[in-house]
């Protein structure tokens, strides 16, 4: 296939290897070594997409990661990826790309009507145009805007690729493999330091890949190849190409995203991780991240074919692709002259170099004359012909001062591309992310690093040093200094190579080029932010409306907030704002640079932590048995707990009722292994527990347990559990399932920091024990078949703990009850848990023994008014609020929380207190979390719904637990109600959207208030 804009020779592409690809369904050919952008340009394709807001035709602006315009959707289905920047997509066989934000096609886009309505889409249009009526926002405006304005489409299928992560450490990390970075890596590596060199491109060389400079008299790329060979031979050096350092965090911690297979045909990628996230800690960092060229802001500067001059030079020199046959060059500095010369040599006609300045740098005019390129000094492009492709440039000469023109009519220069340069912005993103301070260099018209905040140096173009000789010298010095600071002094000083140096010259700070009609008037648009469609008129409007702070301006206009984060636009916007404010750019400052430097896919950030590896799951030793019995599971922390065990065709309600009845009438078994368990040992164990728990343990006998509360210093309940004394100075504690780790940490904190003199040792034993809770009137009969230990009431009373042999296993039995029934918790070493469990079920078969899950447990405990921490409590509830004041010792001089109970707020009598609630209508089950109010006949409350809204009504409490009680044959609820313990018997109501529910306050215990069953 013919590539009409391919140069005759040269470039770093492999002309012997064609690569076929499709763009918007049409097949094209490029070459190995092309990017999608260079291949499209070689085929004469400039119209790549439509813009975000106005659906303006857009082409390729740049040749690098800063690209704001040429965004495409790559591939389809599970491989699709939106917003891919064409200049950094390496071409591979059968690549398929499509335009974004265009329908039905990029050539004929209906959304372009937005351009005609552009008066509606000005700065802040979200806040102005779509304000009323209020209800229209969600239903009409927002969906409309979302459809009309946008970029690529997020994938809807699962990602087919795999990703992984690496951690790395080094003495010197060099970011950027251009001349400065290579020099730095070389100097650092020469001293023996461990070096990582990272570059985002497919090969080292940076800007040298696009240029024709000489180093030591030879082509610069020979020098690059020499350094690369030297570094590759050094075992202490790691080179990562196709890798972008995207974040620079505290203490020299940097994140890089490596693209490992993105340049390969998708099917060839196979099982190799597509991208890899590197987490790197470096003793020293050398930033050599280069610079980005800025566009000039002139009338219709976004037409396809208008691009950055250095990019046009890159496409010609590196990729052998001409951006046009006739290219007008427009500049405010010297650098674009090199582009004009190289384009001319590569075969393009240059109708003119239009230079905003009165005078170009030394020698440039002569070289232009020798190449036959006319130079229009003090000229300006005031308009662009052509819509989907540049067809001509309108040029006028400027008067000596101000915005006046020296000509009366523009001259039209016929051309098919315009190469522009508005100066250079050092890529200070990583420096700034590392909290370094910037300063504005007025002579170079850019922000440069000023004060570093971490162990780091910026070298080369990212430091504002645009000349090759300076890049090499700075790199060598910084590399050696970094290695030395990391403990590797240089053995011999390397001699900086000799490079032909082109002076940076002068730059004219023209932030918006004068045009035929003033900014904001007429049809022409002067784009500053190409990706978010922010024009000079938008910035001017924002300024007129009073947005004078740069951070406000940014948010109001959305300038710099697109996926390119304003790499090509921020400085132009600041410059324009400064001219309107009549201040200098340093006075305005710049907006914050944030990670990531370039977009990173979620897949790379997630790595392997997806699917079942996203979060660990904890299973008890009985888990497989629960699964086999058809249990559904509930997540409690990371634990999977059996929730209930439905029989075939059984509803949840029926299953839970059946499980509850089994416990109340015969016997059930709960897997209680997940409860936190802590072994406490040491001569001061009693003292320690007395200081932590609200109750006293001095008199707790060996072989006895006690239910106890842990509170924080503010007196609020934090956790609860059993404290069992199993030896003179040894205790076995349980915690809630979700609170286990927190409680252990909290205890360790006190032990190490408040009472380090106490001799106490804490060990988590949660996973060492499997615990079967056997509950119900037949629990004793079941266990008696399995143990010789006497279980009768006298030998083994309530709250006793004994070591025993159960089913031939060494076990510990706790006679405790969370269901209100006769109940034994049998603990055996975890690996024997399944054996115990099966023995219990075999023994219980004759009693119809039934496994019960956490839902039945919740119902059973609520019938008994037992609390669940985190359900009845929320860190604002004291033991007294729960009616557990009796568990708070008055005799102990001190324990955590004690002092708080005499504070005015905790001592109030009208605090919210735990009560029971019985609905007037027994069938009605209140929703948990329902708000409670005093009884009222306000129809707004009693009739439900949301309109009309009632006048503010004081909320006196809320429902914490609510269930259908199979035992009582009616609904029950627990609630926290203001002054509730003194209000038993009173009626309050829960106003629901379905109408108000009246209920009577009761005590929280609904069943067996005397506790005979558990004690029996």
């Amino acid at each position: 296939m013919k590539q009409p804009f391919r140069t005759a020779q040269g470039g770093r592409i492999d002309r012997s290897r064609p690569v076929f690809f499709t763009f918007n369904g049409r097949q094209y050919a490029g070459h190995a070594g092309d990017t999608l952008a260079s291949a499209l340009l070689a085929n004469g394709v400039h119209l790549v997409g439509r813009s975000f807001k106005y659906h303006r035709p857009r082409g390729i602006l740049s040749a690098g990661c800063e690209e704001p315009s040429a965004l495409v959707q790559l591939e389809k289905g599970g491989l699709t990826e939106p917003n891919m920047r064409a200049p950094v997509v390496e071409l591979y066989d059968d690549l398929a790309a499509t335009s974004q934000n265009a329908w039905p096609s990029v050539e004929h886009d209906i959304g372009a009507v937005n351009g005609l309505l552009s008066k509606l889409f000005v700065a802040g249009f979200y806040y102005k145009t779509f304000m009323s009526p209020k209800s229209f926002w969600m239903k009409v405006y927002e969906p409309f805007i979302r459809r009309a304005a946008g970029l690529g489409k997020a994938p809807t299928e699962g990602d087919l690729d795999i990703y992984d992560k690496m951690h790395a450490h080094c003495d010197v990390l060099v970011v950027g493999g251009g001349p400065a970075g290579l020099a730095a890596a070389r100097a650092a590596a020469a001293s023996g330091a461990r070096v990582i060199l990272i570059d985002e491109q497919n090969e080292l060389g940076g800007a040298l890949l696009s240029a024709d400079e000489l180093i030591d008299g030879n082509p610069a790329l020979d020098w690059v190849a020499g350094i690369q060979a030297e570094l590759l031979a050094n075992p202490e050096v790691r080179i990562l190409t196709r890798t972008t350092v995207t974040g620079y965090y505290d203490h020299n911690y940097l994140i890089a995203a490596q693209r490992r297979t993105d340049h390969l045909p998708r099917r060839a990628a196979g099982k190799t991780a597509r991208q890899r996230l590197w987490k790197i800690r470096a003793a020293r960092v050398v930033l050599a991240t280069g610079a980005h060229e800025r566009p000039l802001v002139f009338a219709d500067n976004d037409r396809p074919g208008v691009m950055l001059a250095a990019a046009a030079r890159t496409y010609a020199n590196r990729y052998g692709a001409l951006v046009g046959k006739k290219v007008v060059v427009f500049t405010n500095n010297d650098s674009a002259y090199e582009a004009a010369f190289d384009l001319k040599i590569a075969g393009a006609a240059i109708p003119a170099i239009v230079d905003l300045r009165p005078e170009a740098g030394q020698g440039l005019l002569e070289r232009a004359r020798n190449l036959g390129i006319p130079v229009i000094a003090q000229g300006a492009i005031v308009g662009v012909k052509g819509t989907k492709r540049v067809a001509g440039a309108l040029v006028m000469r400027l008067a000596e001062a101000g915005e006046a023109f020296a000509d009366t009519q523009p001259a039209e220069l016929e051309c098919d591309a315009i190469a522009m340069s508005g100066g250079w912005s050092p890529a200070v993103h990583l420096f700034s992310q590392s909290q370094g301070k910037l300063r504005f260099d007025d002579a170079k018209a850019c922000f440069v690093p000023d004060v570093a905040a971490q162990h780091q140096a910026s070298v080369g173009a990212c430091n504002g040093s645009f000349e090759l000789g300076a890049c090499l010298a700075e790199g060598l010095d910084a590399g050696a200094a970094a290695a030395e600071a990391a403990g590797f002094p240089a053995t011999a000083k390397l001699v900086a190579p000799v490079a032909q140096s082109r002076a940076f010259g002068t730059i004219k700070q023209t932030w918006v080029v004068p045009s035929l009609r003033p900014v904001g008037h007429g049809k022409a648009k002067h784009f500053i932010d190409f990706q978010n469609d922010v024009t000079a008129a938008d910035v001017a409007l924002a300024h007129r409306e009073g947005y004078k702070h740069v951070e406000h301006l940014k948010r109001y206009t959305t300038m710099g907030m697109a996926t390119d984060q304003g790499k090509t636009s921020n400085v132009n916007a600041l410059g324009y704002l400064s001219t309107m404010l009549g201040t200098s750019i340093p006075e305005i400052g710049t907006t914050t640079f944030r990670a990531p430097y370039t977009p990173v896919t979620f897949g790379t950030l997630a790595g392997r932590d997806v699917g079942h590896l996203a979060d660990p799951e904890r299973h008890t030793p009985i888990h497989a048995w629960h699964v086999a019995r058809g249990a559904l599971f509930e997540d409690v922390g990371q634990w999977k707990r059996a929730w209930y065990y439905p029989r075939p065709g059984e509803t949840m309600e029926a299953a839970v009722s059946r499980e509850c009845r089994a416990v109340r009438e015969s016997v059930g078994v709960l897997d209680a292994s997940t409860l936190g368990k802590i072994d406490v040992q040491g001569q001061d164990a009693v003292t320690f527990l007395n200081l932590l728990y609200t109750s006293a343990f001095s008199k707790l006998e060996i072989g006895k347990a006690r239910y106890a509360l842990l509170c924080k210093e503010d007196g609020m309940v934090m956790d609860d559990g059993i404290v069992a004394r199993v030896g003179p100075s040894r205790f076995y504690l349980t915690t809630t399932t979700g609170g286990a780790a927190k409680v252990l940490d909290w205890m360790e904190d006190y032990l190490q920091t408040e009472w380090p003199h106490l001799k106490v040792y804490l060990t988590s034993i949660t996973e060492q024990w499997t615990v079967a809770q056997v509950a119900g009137p037949k629990a004793r009969a079941v266990l008696e078949k399995l143990t010789d230990t006497k279980l009768d009431k006298e030998s083994f009373p309530f709250m006793a703990v004994k070591d025993a042999t159960v089913a031939g296993l060494k076990a510990r039995i706790f006679r405790v009850s969370f269901t209100g029934e006769l109940s034994f918790e049998v603990a055996v070493p975890a690996h024997q848990g399944k054996q115990l469990w099966e023995a219990i079920f075999a023994a219980g078969d004759e009693f119809g023994i039934t496994p019960f899950g956490t839902e039945a447990m919740h119902v059973l405990r609520a019938e008994k008014g037992f609390i669940i921490v985190g359900q009845e409590t929320d860190a604002t509830v004291t033991p007294q609020d729960l009616g557990m004041g009796g568990m708070v010792s008055r005799l102990k001089p001190d324990f955590v929380g004690k002092r708080a109970y005499t504070r005015a707020d905790t001592a109030r009598v009208d605090r919210k207190q735990l009560v029971g609630l019985l609905t007037d209508e027994p069938q009605t089950v209140l929703p948990e979390g329902a708000q409670l109010v005093e009884v009222s006949d306000d129809p707004a409350l009693t009739k439900g719904g949301t309109s009309p809204l009632p006048a503010p009504v004081p909320m006196i409490g809320h429902v914490t637990s609510s269930y259908w009680s199979p035992t009582l044959g009616r609904s029950i609820a627990l609630a926290l109600v203001k002054g509730g313990s003194a209000r038993h018997g009173q009626v309050i109501m829960a106003p629901l959207t379905t109408g108000a529910v009246r209920c009577t306050i009761t005590g929280p215990v609904f069943y067996d208030a005397e506790g005979k069953r558990a004690n029996g």
């Binding site: 505290d250 203490h251 905040a453 162990h455 210093e713 920091t753 004690k898």
Partner: protein, 104 residues
Amino acid sequence: MLLITCPWCGPRDEIEFTCGGEAHRARPQDPAATDDAAFADFLFMRTNPKGLQRERWCHSQGCRRWFNLERSTITHEITRIYKMGEQPEASADATSPARQGGQP
């Protein structure tokens, strides 16, 4: 991601640690004798300085030991690390604008 030198284990990533907030806020020796205002101060008030702050940290994913460190709340520079029970002299420069970062 801070690099924190655990006094027992050496330099480790911040992800292995938990921060326990401001250090040297001793629990009242005799809480019962502490008046409401003083106790409320202990419970709720923290100095929240702009500059150097001493904090309690625990190497929770490592040796599980608590220790103190001194950190700039502006730059995250860690200027001191010391064991529980120690109380070194205050650092001179509390608001150094340019930090050196990382660990020596």
